[in-house]
């Protein structure tokens, strides 16, 4: 059996079970009421897509910089990176969003909630990304750096030509998982009134009193973002593979 056929069968089975479960729900379905608000879903989805893309790029950059801080020989620099990671990972994203928007952004006069939301989300994800990158860099054996040194590479060349390409391969699966989390975590931006997908679904629910009809499209909306990301990650993994 081919892999894609197997995937198709399993996916169909899941959808079938879900449909069966939904048929057990008492009461009438009200898809017509929700259909009225299809524009809202689309707008929310586009906002989620935009914020996710921006936060995604930014969190990779933050992750790389903080990973380099964590790997620094200078204890002050290393402690700065460590403090960042522990503070961010030790507190809920919800709290960071509220503090970030009502305290920090207010203090520096930043009023655009989209910008604040994207920055907080990127900073949050960047802390996890940093630990993933640090683990990847640590996993490259010392013999590789030695070998790079012996053939006369500078420290920067050794990092760029030898360590980084191997580390990228190692961290790809974990990075993809973190990016998927980031997209889903963007649903929390509704607490600072950013009109993304989840907030729009909640609004449609309160207008139509059709809870499942509002939230099922929400799930599909997130899958439309996360599944292509997973596929891209598998493709990249294959492209960077060197174990065989």
């Amino acid at each position: 059996m081919s892999r894609s056929l197997a995937h198709g069968i399993v996916a169909a089975a899941f959808v079938g079970l879900l449909v069966l479960a939904c048929m057990q729900v008492p009461g009438e379905w009200n898809w017509a009421g929700v259909w009225e608000y299809r524009q809202k879903f689309l707008q929310g989805w586009l906002v989620t897509l935009g914020i996710s893309l921006a936060a995604l790029v930014l969190s990779l950059a933050i992750g790389l910089v903080v990973a380099l801080l964590l790997a620094a020989h200078n204890p002050l620099i290393e402690a700065t990176g460590r403090m960042y990671v522990e503070l961010i990972r030790g507190t809920p994203l919800l709290v960071q969003l509220l503090l970030g928007f009502y305290v920090v952004a207010n203090a520096v006069g930043l009023e655009n909630r989209f910008v604040v939301g994207t920055l907080v989300l990127a900073a949050f994800s960047g802390a996890y990304m940093a630990e993933i990158f640090r683990g990847g860099l640590d996993a490259i054996p010392k013999t590789q750096r030695d070998s790079a040194k012996a053939i006369g590479l500078t420290r920067w060349q050794s990092f760029r030509l030898v360590v980084l390409p191997q580390a990228i391969r190692l961290v790809l699966p974990a990075v993809a998982g973190q990016l998927v989390s980031l997209i889903k975590d963007s649903s929390l931006l509704s607490v600072i009134a950013i009109s993304e997908l989840t907030l729009n679904a909640q609004e449609v629910n309160s207008f139509t009193y059709s809870t499942l009809e509002s939230y099922l499209p929400l799930a599909v909306g997130y899958l439309l973002l996360t599944l292509p990301l997973s596929a891209a990650s598998r493709w990249l993994e294959a492209a960077f593979r060197y174990e065989r």
Binding site: S147, K149, I151, G152, L153, L161, V162, E243
Partner: protein, 242 residues
């Protein structure tokens, strides 16, 4: 090459791996370092290869002392080459790209020039058909031969080999030793650390027996193997040559 070492000491924390080691060779093309594990052979080789800086003392090749500063060491490493026990090659690159990388990024050749330079050596050592495979697709012996080729194609003034066959089975060991033996007489001087005593005897102009952080015996193969007056050396050879 003529190597003179004075008072060479290498200390890691409280452990003194080399202790005021001294050695002066004749004008030779191959020096083999033998001796017990942990005796300081590899530490000495790493210093000679410009990979580590000694705590104290000095070493000179042909009257030129080894540099101690980072910039000096970098340019020194670019004039010599080192082969390690194993895991030399970069696993994310094909054998060909492993050979090309130092030529392009260290020695300033274009990719075309580099490809042209490696073609003949790849063919000579029967490695051309494997050039596009990655290290994981090659045998240990093939990997090590590619690693030695990578060291040779930069045309180093000297080659340092740190137990190049210790991670290989006997058949692959023979492949690699044949290749090193071909170096002898090709004009490339080398310093070799090895446990393969019969091979050491065959290729060494001079042998230094390194143990307890110093030189316990030194001379031609004949002198070191047969007329060792140091009981530590005699006991070692009694064991490994039995």
């Amino acid at each position: 090459m003529q190597l003179t070492i004075d008072n060479l000491t290498q200390q890691f924390g409280s452990v003194r791996v080399l202790d005021q080691l001294a050695l002066s060779t004749g004008s030779i093309s191959s020096l083999v370092l033998v001796g017990p594990s942990g005796g300081g052979k590899s530490t000495l080789l790493r210093i000679l290869a410009g990979l580590d800086v000694p705590t104290a003392g000095s070493a000179q090749f042909d009257g030129t002392p080894l540099p101690r500063d980072d910039a000096g060491l970098l340019s020194y490493r670019r004039t010599v080459a080192t082969v390690f026990q194993s895991y030399n090659l970069f696993p994310h690159l094909s054998a060909r790209d492993n050979l090309i990388l130092p030529l392009v990024h260290v020695h300033g050749l274009s990719r075309e020039e580099a490809a042209a330079r490696i073609a003949e050596p790849l063919a000579r050592f029967q490695l051309a058909e494997h050039a596009d495979k990655r290290p994981a697709q090659l045998s240990g012996g093939q990997n090590q031969r590619i690693a030695i080729l990578r060291a040779l194609v930069v045309r180093p003034r000297r080659l340092f080999l740190d137990e190049p066959t210790s991670a290989l089975d006997p058949e692959m060991t023979a492949e690699v030793l044949d290749m090193i033996e071909a170096l002898k007489g090709s004009g490339t001087d080398f310093v070799l650390v090895t446990h393969a005593m019969h091979f050491a005897r065959r290729v060494a102009d001079e042998i230094a027996f390194i143990g307890d952080g110093g030189v316990l015996a030194h001379g031609t193969a004949e002198q070191v193997f047969n007329h060792g007056d140091n009981p530590r050396v005699t006991a070692f050879f009694d064991k490994v040559l039995r």
